[in-house]
């Protein structure tokens, strides 16, 4: 198939090159996927269910075949390599620990099939258990462990045979919130200690933001945006990403004119100035996106509009104000609970403002995610 010489870009450790996938021959669940992952990177595939992210992971693991395109691992096409020869570690959604084996046997299994002798196996198993702080649990059965413990074992098993690439398919989905956060740091720690490459699939954006070096946001079989957590949050490039990551205020308007990188967008009778990111040309519909924490009460920014206060929610460190702004009564502003902050009253009128740089004119999506 593809040899070293025919490689166009051999620097990436994992590369999806024009990959498409269809199950029924009629619709594509993955549409033209291109993605490069560097060695040692922690990349998360984030998206709603049905967006194609798990299918991508399964194609990488070898459990699904790509309908079209190449998947490269360390510069070599792995399209025709069966899963058991890919040497990729994997953590499954429900851990898939073998119930008829002890924890130790579960960990020893990948070493056995690789023909390692017994003492080597014992060493490696113990090291892997220690790594996930489960050194004492080698002789237990999976059913005797809690969810979090099973999770650790699943991670240890994916790493015990020195896999350099580890795939994780919503590994924390079955855990409660507190345990989930604990395990996020645990996985992050292991990733940093071992320097393995991790491809992580989740639909939980906070999990993605916490752990990842880069995040690929999936929707409708495509990567909408691939960027680091801060960039993804601060500078969403499509209305889907803006909506999917974090909280977002939006207006729909029509582009009146483009002045440099600033778009003048009319929303009703008002014209709002926004950063022209992905708004097409004059006359096109555009969705404006502003983060709630970038809006201030009072007339301080480039854009000032009137608002009517609908609801106040006291949250300790800040107060959440729901406002009616330009006909959008879902507009949210986070007012810091500072001593000098003036807090409006419910039913009262006030002015709010934001800077042009914080308001992004994006594509107009018919249906918000």
């Amino acid at each position: 198939m593809v040899t070293e010489t025919s490689m166009t870009d051999s620097s990436a450790y994992v590369a999806f090159d024009g990959v498409q996938k269809s199950y029924d021959g009629k619709t594509l669940v993955v549409k033209d996927l291109n993605l490069k992952i560097e060695k040692g990177e922690f990349v998360t595939m984030l998206g709603p269910s049905g967006s194609g992210k798990t299918t991508c992971l399964m194609m990488l693991a070898g459990f699904e075949t790509a309908t079209h395109g190449q998947i490269l691992l360390d510069g070599v096409s792995i399209n025709n390599i069966p899963p058991h020869k890919r040497g990729i570690g994997m953590v499954f959604q429900n851990y898939a620990l073998f119930p008829h084996m002890t924890v130790g046997e579960n960990l020893s299994f990948p070493l056995e099939v690789r023909g390692m002798d017994k003492s080597t196996r014992q060493d490696k198993v113990q090291r892997a258990l220690d790594m996930v702080r489960m050194g004492e649990f080698g002789s237990r059965r999976p059913a005797q462990l809690s969810g979090g413990q099973q999770q650790r074992i699943a991670v240890a098993r994916a790493l015990v045979f020195d896999a350099e690439l580890v795939l994780m398919d919503e590994p924390l989905g079955a855990l409660d919130k507190q345990l989930r956060e604990e395990m996020q740091y645990e996985i992050k720690r292991i990733h940093e200690n071992l320097g393995v490459t991790v491809v992580y699939v989740t639909h939980d954006q906070s999990e993605a933001l916490t752990m990842s070096d880069r995040i690929a946001v999936f929707d409708d079989g495509r990567i909408q945006q691939l960027a680091g957590p801060s960039e993804l949050y601060e500078k969403p490039e499509t209305s889907f990403v803006a909506q999917f990551i974090g909280e977002n205020n939006k207006f729909t308007g029509r582009v009146e004119e483009l002045v440099g990188d600033v778009a003048h967008v009319s929303v009703g009778d008002t014209t709002i100035k926004a950063l022209a990111v992905n708004c097409g040309g004059k006359g096109d519909l555009s969705q404006l996106s502003i983060r709630p924490e970038r809006v201030t009460i009072g007339e301080l920014g480039d854009n000032v509009v009137d608002a009517k206060v609908c609801e106040l929610i006291y949250l300790g460190d800040h107060i959440r104000c729901r406002l009616d702004v330009l006909g959008n009564d879902e507009f949210v502003v986070k007012v810091p609970n500072a001593s000098n902050q003036k807090v409006p009253e419910v039913g009262g009128e006030t002015s709010i403002s934001w800077s042009t740089q914080d308001c992004r004119a994006l594509d107009h999506a018919e249906v918000a995610a």
Binding site: P83, K85, I88, M90, F109, R114
Partner: protein, 422 residues
């Protein structure tokens, strides 16, 4: 209720011991549950437990001899034969004549004759003939009865009838069980039957062996089907399941007879093979063990597939994927990961199939000929043909014991907890 945890007995709010209150509450619950299952319990007791007890009782019951010949049995107590010509004294003959006269009036002399004839051939007709004569005898004046009986038939002057009566004079006997393992109860104890009369041990052994073969065949053939069932899309799985269950909609007799049509000498298989020149003369495919194994494997297959399917259905496909991601090839992944988890299904199916096949009757009867029959065919034969119900009960008892022993062995080897029916 109280939540205090002290060393002394915990008391409820109104100072009754908590354990008593709990037992009371649970008792009411249990009684309600018992009421719900009462109809089933009664049904099982009446239709299952009671007949089994009845069967076990019948397999040792010998009351017909002491009840029909009470005086003879009493008179015989002090007599035991010292040699091959040592017939009982006149007292025994007289008692026997008296018993026979009563028995002949009540027409029970032939019943006891039939009973003793199971053990020693030739007794039935002697009792029947004597019954006709004895009615007219005067017990006071017609003695001595030894001479009178011997004059009637020389057989009464020989030892074998008296020995048989003596051996079977108790209300209970192990004789049926002895017969069921090709032994014979005699005055000298239990002796083996002649080799040319031995049949039951061989049949027990054959029944077990063939049932094992059938069970293995079912497991081998059923496993892939169960796997397919549990790993295809639901709508195909439903269709497949219907195909698996299809045989249940046809009468067992019709299915077995269909095999007869296929397997007989001029049957479909033989004539096809002959017409395409693979064989010159028809293969013996039925009226032997082969025919029984083929037909019963087909008939029992669903009983193997369904438990396996219900277990395999619970094994998530992610286990196999996990095994492969860990570096196991398809065979290793199956052998080390999937197969061990499907063992409970195989165990359940195997127990079900084996126990069903060990008691099978109709199919071996039709296609088994003389060498492919099971012990149940002999039980049926003894019930309806020779009417030796005691022996039939003993054979049934042996079968019951056998199944229990096998169950025990299975429990020791595999562990009954490892059996899942769903």
């Amino acid at each position: 209720m109280t939540t205090e945890l002290e060393d002394g007995p915990i008391l409820t709010a109104d100072d009754k011991p908590l354990s008593v209150a709990l037992r009371k509450a649970l008792f009411r619950q249990k009684m309600r549950a018992l009421m719900l299952i009462a109809p089933l319990l009664l049904f099982v007791l009446i239709t299952f437990v009671w007949p089994i007890i009845g069967m076990l009782f019948r397999s040792v019951d010998n009351s017909v001899v002491p009840e029909t010949l009470p005086k003879t049995v009493a008179a015989m107590e002090s007599w035991s034969p010292t040699g091959p010509t040592d017939t009982p004294p006149e007292a025994v003959y007289a008692a026997f004549a008296a018993d026979m006269q009563v028995a002949a009036d009540e027409r029970t002399h032939t019943v006891v004759g039939g009973r003793l004839n199971y053990e020693t051939p030739g007794i039935a007709s002697k009792f029947r003939q004597l019954g006709r004569e004895v009615k007219g005898w005067d017990l006071e004046n017609d003695g001595p009865f030894k001479e009178k009986l011997i004059a009637e038939d020389e057989a009464w002057g020989e030892l074998f009838i008296w020995e048989t009566i003596k051996t079977y004079s108790g209300g209970y006997t192990t004789g049926y069980y002895a017969s069921s393992v090709d032994r014979r109860l005699t005055s000298e104890g239990v002796v083996a039957r002649d080799a040319d009369e031995a049949i039951y041990l061989r049949l027990f052994w054959r029944t077990i062996l063939m049932s094992l073969i059938i069970t293995c065949m079912c497991a081998l053939l059923g496993y892939p089907i169960a796997w397919m069932l549990s790993n295809t899309l639901d709508r195909y799985a439903n269709l497949l399941l219907i195909l698996v269950l299809l045989p249940f909609w046809t009468s067992l007799l019709v299915r077995t007879s269909a095999w007869k049509v296929l397997l007989q000498e001029q049957g479909v298989i033989n004539s096809t093979l002959e017409s395409i020149g693979i064989i010159d003369s028809p293969l013996p495919l039925m009226y032997n063990q082969f025919g029984t194994i083929v037909a019963m494997t087909h008939i029992l297959l669903p009983f193997m597939i369904l438990p396996m399917y219900s277990v395999m259905k619970t094994i998530p496909p992610s286990y196999l994927r996990a095994a492969k991601s860990l570096g196991a090839n398809d065979i290793t992944a199956f052998r080390r990961v999937y197969f061990p988890q499907s063992v409970p299904g195989i165990g359940a199916g195997a127990i079900l199939t084996f126990i069903l096949s060990i008691g099978y009757y109709i199919t071996p009867e039709i296609v088994g000929g003389s060498t492919g029959i099971f012990i149940s065919n002999r039980i049926a034969y003894n019930i309806s043909s020779t009417l030796n119900w005691g022996l039939a009960a003993a054979l049934g008892g042996m079968l019951l014991i056998m199944v229990m022993v096998l169950y025990w062995i299975y429990d020791r080897v595999v562990g009954i907890d490892n059996v899942k029916l769903g």
